[in-house]
């Protein structure tokens, strides 16, 4: 045993063993440290990646928000200008209503309405202002308003009417959504076809059905439309394509905000697209009252102001408001009538009713005159019972 301990080889081997053990453990430690470092770097990397993604998204959102804000205020200005111009046009149309200029004014009005609608559509996409209405309007008028906002409005035919109004809050959105539908319908059908609108009452509210005779939509287009109308709302003006397709994106947003439904998933009997707008009861009211008083007063006067076929001339004179066969005029504001023309209808009205009375009186007067002539010619006219005859008597005597 002692010779073993004295053997230097053993010691050398021992030292080598210890050294190897130390080396291994150190290597292991280093490897562990490296692994940890790698893991740390990897974590850092993913963290950075996430941060980068987030900041890119944030930047995108900020940019989009900025675009939206800019567009929103720009569109608001444009909408205001369009509305202002529309008022000016209304005034001009009244002022030059009599001249051939009116035709051109109507054309400008039409262009202006389209321009206003474009601005409104972009405003809707940018969560902007839509323009408000203070009054409710009939469904029919809202549909016609939508009709007026597209280029080919002459090709739109409204086939039915219902006795319902739309609440003031929903007037503009429904009109705008319908205008976008009609724009699609007229743009994607041939120029000689008609786009038909039917308004129907259904248990859930009112349906406005728009049928075009176009080529219809491809599956891809239909899928895009369904997506924009039902599930995934568009936001901002990004992703509208080039040329941008506003229609369904705008309609989808309006549907979500104002609570009506639009579907384009059926095809029209004419081969094109059938779009159905469902207006729920919340957006509907009773028919608004007419503003103009003239149509309301006319039927009241109708019964009394047609004297000749219904009653005698006397009846007409006692009951007719103006005594000459015309309806009573209720002037709300000064009417611009050429002085000479106003007297013309009055004269013709007299020919119907008063003329008869005058002739009758004349006849009675001459008859009574002939009867009483032998007794006393002077008294003949004055004692006659009809008031009209007394004046005739003077002329006879």
């Amino acid at each position: 045993m002692t010779e073993y301990t004295g053997n230097p080889l053993l010691w050398v081997a021992l030292v080598a063993l210890v050294a190897a053990a130390v080396l291994i453990s150190r290597q292991r430690k280093a490897a562990r440290a490296l692994r940890q470092q790698v893991q740390g770097l990897r974590d850092h990397y993913t963290e950075l990646e996430n941060d980068y993604g987030k900041s890119v998204q944030a930047a995108q959102e900020r940019a989009e928000d900025e675009t939206k804000t800019v567009l929103k205020s720009a569109m608001r200005t444009l909408q205001g200008l369009a509305a202002e111009q529309q008022l000016v046009l209304s005034r001009l149309q009244t002022k030059y209503g009599d001249s051939a200029l009116l035709q051109d004014l109507l054309e400008i009005d039409h262009t202006n309405s389209q321009f206003g609608r474009r601005a409104q559509s972009i405003a809707v996409l940018c969560d902007g202002w839509l323009g408000g209405r203070r009054d409710t309007a009939s469904v029919y008028d809202v549909v016609r308003s939508a009709q007026g906002r597209i280029r080919h409005f002459r090709r739109v035919d409204i086939l039915s009417q219902v006795d319902f109004g739309i609440t003031s809050r929903a007037v503009e959105p429904v009109a705008l959504a319908l205008a976008e539908l009609l724009d699609n319908a007229t743009s994607y059908s041939s120029p000689d076809t008609v786009v038909e609108i039917n308004i129907r009452t259904v248990p859930k509210g009112i349906c406005v059905v728009v049928d075009d005779a176009g080529v219809g939509m491809s599956d891809e287009e239909r899928a895009r439309a369904d997506k924009l109308l039902a599930t995934e709302r568009a936001s901002g003006v990004a992703g509208l394509g080039n040329p941008p397709q506003f229609g369904f994106a705008v309609i989808g947003l309006l549907c979500e905000r104002f609570g009506f439904e639009v579907s384009v998933d059926s095809s029209s009997p004419y081969g094109g697209v059938r779009a159905v707008v469902l207006l729920p009861h919340e957006l509907l009211t009773a028919m608004p009252e007419k503003k103009a008083p003239a149509p309301a007063s006319a039927p009241a006067a109708r019964g009394t102001a047609r004297p000749v076929p219904e009653g005698g001339p006397e009846a007409a004179l006692t009951s007719s408001p103006t005594g000459d066969g015309l309806p009573r005029r209720r002037r709300k504001r000064p009417m611009a009538i050429v002085p000479g023309s106003a007297s013309t209808p009055r004269a013709t009205g007299r020919s119907d009713s008063e003329q008869a009375q005058v002739m009758g009186a004349f006849q009675r007067g001459t008859q009574s005159g002939r009867v009483t002539e032998p007794d006393s010619p002077d008294h003949a006219g004055r004692t006659s019972e009809t008031p009209g005859a007394s004046s005739e008597g003077h002329e006879v005597s």
Binding site: L87, D109, V171, R306, S341, A342
Partner: protein, 125 residues
């Protein structure tokens, strides 16, 4: 969505006149002048339901008897030209009849009047 900050411009009319006229052109000046007289046709029963509310109210207005175009325009709030277009389309549909304005009475010959005057003076004067 409405004017949440209180600013709301005066709202223009909802239905623009060119929609009410369905984009038709102005009628002939001779066919429908300011003083042309208009009345509804006799057969009021067969009034079609597809007339627009404006056309209906014009028919109501005209059913009371002859009215001049100028007067009808005064009763409505539309520009005169728009009323003329609507009346022309109603005439085309056979719902309205027109009568040309009454011609001005021709003045009697001055010489005849003088002769009559002289005669009367000679007899009574």
């Amino acid at each position: 969505m409405t004017g949440h900050d209180g600013w709301q411009p005066e709202a223009p009319e909802l239905v623009r006149p060119y929609v009410i006229t369905k984009g038709r052109g102005l009628p002939d000046e001779d066919a429908l002048s300011l003083i042309t007289l208009v009345t509804a046709s006799a057969d009021q029963q067969q009034r079609p339901a597809r007339l627009s509310p404006e056309e209906q109210s014009l028919l109501d207005l005209c059913s009371a008897g002859y009215l001049s175009v100028a007067e009808i325009a005064g009763h409505t709030h539309f520009p005169l030209g728009v009323v003329r277009i609507l009346l022309a389309s109603l005439m085309e549909g056979g719902h309205l009849m027109t009568r040309p304005p009454v011609a001005r009475a021709r003045l009697a010959d001055r010489e005849i009047l003088e002769e009559v005057l002289n005669g009367l003076r000679a007899k009574f004067g």
